[in-house]
């Protein structure tokens, strides 16, 4: 009884909630239909391919499916001594099937990722296997090459048994699982990725700092100049946006190379001697200069949009209350621009950390970033799973920075424009 009295009815006697839902259903459907094309477009062209690509970084089904019988036979193998005949027989059976399908090359590539030296012995095994007789495969396979008699190589095969693996991530950190199953770093002279990660962070950090130092005065000028000058200045800031990235990068190459305009000028005014021209291109300096210039607008625009809203009377108030121009700036103006600084820095840092084309062109050996390494594995080695593992690591790095920013400054404090 009491619940009935609580329920509010419309004049038709339908419960109010029901009739409200009915009234709003049409609008909801309409709204969904309007966004549906974009939603499907995003799912098809963005969520699905990226998800698939990221899945590759842990997916290791390929070898599992190529050697199903071998791994089944290996289940009872303890990995101490060479496996028993049944493992060899199972491996032979799998291998013959692969040769029939002409897929043994893929197997050799995959196994070679795990341990170097598989390529040649698989090639030899393929040739030899044509003459194999039935029975005693252990002896026959071991006689093909001495590595087939080495327990290390059989352990390497066993390590590829699981369907999923995290080893690509370890490789991205210059680490691997050794024979004892422990995670260890690779030898000192082969740690290329850690250097690249650190360099990426360093370059992204300093590019952000340089962008901030240059953008702050420009944005302030833009926000305070009379309209006719500030429009002109705005065009100057936006002009790089309208020019191709390649053109801008190439023009830096012309300016900064050893026989370039800037060096010619330095020699001309006697700052450096002709045979002592500084290298400003194809190293870190090149990356710094070109990336700072290209990412500058991403810092200027959020700063400008925040500064535009700060009333000039606030600075005046600060001064009239006795603050020197510096105190008025530091205590009044600067704190009010923090949302813009946060937005600009986050934007520039995130863009810089994944920057690819400019470092590839002007970075040389010491100025390339992790993204160049990802591209290298995508295009040259075709180790897509490794490339996507590094991509995911980069993405999670960005998310961590975003999270930190949110903790320290608060994401709702951000202002993009």
């Amino acid at each position: 009884m009491s619940s009935e009295t609580k329920q509010i009815l419309t004049t038709d006697g339908i419960p109010l909630e029901v009739s409200l839902k009915k009234a709003e259903r049409k609008n909801k459907i309409k709204a969904f239909l309007l966004v549906a094309p974009l939603l499907f477009f995003l799912i098809i062209t963005y969520v699905f391919p990226i998800g698939d690509m990221l899945f590759r970084s842990v997916d290791d089904k390929m070898v599992t499916q190529m050697l199903p019988k071998t791994f089944k036979a290996m289940e009872s193998w303890d990995g101490q001594e060479l496996p028993e005949e049944e493992v060899f027989a199972a491996f032979h059976e799998d291998f013959i099937k692969l040769v029939e399908d002409k897929r043994e090359g893929k197997l050799s590539t995959q196994l070679n990722y795990t341990k170097n030296g598989f390529k040649s012995i698989i090639k030899k095994l393929r040739r030899a296997s044509k003459k194999f007789e039935e029975g005693n495969y252990k002896e026959q396979i071991m006689s093909v090459h001495k590595r087939w008699a080495d327990v290390e190589y059989w352990r390497a095969i066993q390590r590829r048994a699981p369907e999923f693996t995290g080893q690509k991530y370890l490789k991205g950190m210059d680490m691997y699982v050794n024979e004892e199953g422990k995670i260890v770093s690779v030898e000192e002279d082969r740690r290329i990725h850690r250097v690249l990660w650190l360099r990426t962070l360093e370059i992204a950090f300093f590019v952000t700092v340089f962008c901030f130092l240059m953008a702050y005065p420009i944005a302030h000028l833009l926000a305070t100049l009379p309209m006719k000058y500030s429009n002109l200045l705005m065009i100057c800031v936006l002009l790089p946006f309208w020019t191709s990235l390649l053109v801008r990068t190439a023009s830096w190459m012309i300016l900064l190379q050893q026989q370039g305009i800037v060096n010619d000028f330095f020699v001309g005014i006697g700052l450096v001697t002709d045979d002592n021209r500084p290298e400003m291109m194809y190293n870190k300096t090149g990356s710094y200069v070109a990336m700072t210039q290209i990412l500058l607008p991403f810092m200027v625009l959020p700063l400008y949009s925040v500064m535009k809203t700060i009333s000039p009377s606030l600075m005046r108030a600060g001064k009239s209350l006795g603050g020197t121009p510096f105190v008025a700036f530091w205590k009044v103006y600067f704190p009010l621009t923090i949302p813009g600084i946060g937005a600009g820095c986050l934007l520039v840092f995130i863009l810089a950390i994944g920057y690819y084309i400019t470092p590839a062109l002007v970075g040389g050996a010491s100025g390339t970033l992790i993204s160049n390494q990802i591209a290298f594995h995508m295009k040259s080695t075709l180790d897509w799973s490794f490339a996507s593992a590094m991509g995911l690591m980069l993405l999670s790095g960005v998310l961590v920075i975003y999270w930190l920013y949110n903790k320290i400054v608060g994401i709702d404090n951000i202002k993009l424009g």
């Binding site: 009333s311 009377s313 606030l314 005046r316 108030a317 600060g318 001064k319 009239s320 209350l321 006795g322 603050g323 020197t324 121009p325 105190v327 008025a328 205590k331 009044v332 704190p335 009010l336």
Partner: protein, 361 residues
């Protein structure tokens, strides 16, 4: 201590922004210590520019400004020690009310306990105790206004400038704030220079009013004098309501003149006319003209009632008088003025003393 007569002194001050137009022309202005002076004028008359020059945000193109006897043109704003209330309050939005008030004290390196006392005092002056920890965004317009006033006074400046501080408030709040600011001024005796374009605000609050127009001070005098005895037709028309007759002086003698308007003549008080034949504008306050005057007056004319508007405490009557269809009378609703009906002919009288013959403009 005797009060300094020219505590603030503008001496031959000119100001131009673009080198073509003078915004302020040859300004001469003395402000006494402890005075409440209002700069009143239409927008673009140069009043805010004068205030900004005094605060130090604009430099005079020519001339000098003195504060307490010292030339201040070369002193930067933060060393002038002038409190200022801005049009949009200019409270620091990222600081609490307390921090806003502490700002001028902190930059002066005043110890914390002394600063806290001053802040308490300033907040109680504007009756905002207990609001110290609020952010400006959490306050209403009137409260923000009070904080701005408190902040401009907290460091005990000798001079406070206010740039249309009540412009953003609604009418009722504006009126109560007018009295509040006036009382604060009276209780602490600080010199205030106040800028507004609202004449009733100026009349309510000020000791003296400087009426600005066209970059010049048209008249500087007390509110009553400004209203009763305007020296030119701009002031007469800008302050309060006004009936005007445009005509030509036909006779002038012994503090009285005859002004010919078309085919009639009125008696007036020659203020800015000197000789016969000059054209003039005669200004008469609506409340100085009486209906059916019983006493003897030297101007008595009759006109036809064109419009009657009821205003509660008084009735405005528009009369076509001596060729001026816009002649306004204010009739108190207490008296028995029963013959005020549309279309009636009535007699209007006024003393020639109140009809001021001013420049024709």
């Amino acid at each position: 201590m005797s009060k300094q007569k020219d505590f603030v002194k503008f001496e031959n001050v000119d100001k131009s922004y673009d080198g073509k137009v003078l915004v302020v022309k040859d300004l001469q202005l003395d402000i006494e210590e402890g005075e409440f002076v209002t700069m009143l004028g239409p927008s673009g008359s140069g009043k805010t520019t004068c205030l900004m020059m005094l605060a130090g945000f604009e430099t005079p193109t020519n001339g000098e400004i003195y504060l307490g006897g010292k030339a201040i043109s070369s002193i930067p704003p933060h060393k002038r020690g002038i409190g200022m209330v801005f049009q949009n309050y200019a409270l620091f939005p990222h600081m609490t009310v307390y921090e806003n008030l502490a700002f001028p004290l902190r930059v002066r390196k005043i110890p914390k306990d002394e600063a806290d006392k001053k802040i308490d005092k300033a907040l109680s002056m504007v009756s905002l105790q207990g609001f110290a920890s609020r952010m400006p965004g959490q306050l209403s317009g009137g409260q923000q206004q009070r904080v701005a006033v408190a902040r401009s006074l907290v460091f005990d400046p000798q001079l406070v400038l206010m740039d249309e501080p009540l412009g953003a408030l609604d009418k009722n709040l504006r009126e109560s704030m007018q009295y509040e600011i006036k009382h604060i001024h009276e209780s602490i005796g600080v010199t205030v220079v106040y800028v507004t374009h609202d004449q009733s605000e100026a009349l309510t609050m000020s000791n003296r009013i400087a009426v600005f127009n066209d970059g010049k001070v048209q008249q500087l005098s007390s509110p009553d004098e400004l209203y009763e005895k305007p020296v030119n037709s701009f002031v007469a028309e800008f302050i309060g309501e006004n009936n005007t007759f445009t005509g030509e002086v036909s006779e002038i003698s012994g503090g009285k003149c005859k002004v010919k308007l078309g085919n009639s003549e009125i008696m007036a008080n020659p203020i800015s006319v000197k000789s016969k034949g000059e054209s003039t504008k005669v200004s008469l306050r609506p409340e100085r003209a009486l209906i059916n005057p019983k006493e003897k007056m030297d101007n008595i004319h009759s006109g036809k009632i064109e419009e009657v508007i009821y205003h509660g405490d008084h009735t405005r009557v528009r009369i076509n008088l001596l060729g001026n269809p816009e002649f306004i009378l204010k009739v108190p609703n207490s008296s028995a003025n029963l013959d005020i009906k549309l279309g009636n002919e009535i007699k209007i009288g006024w003393n020639s003393e109140d009809a001021r013959a001013l420049d024709p403009k």
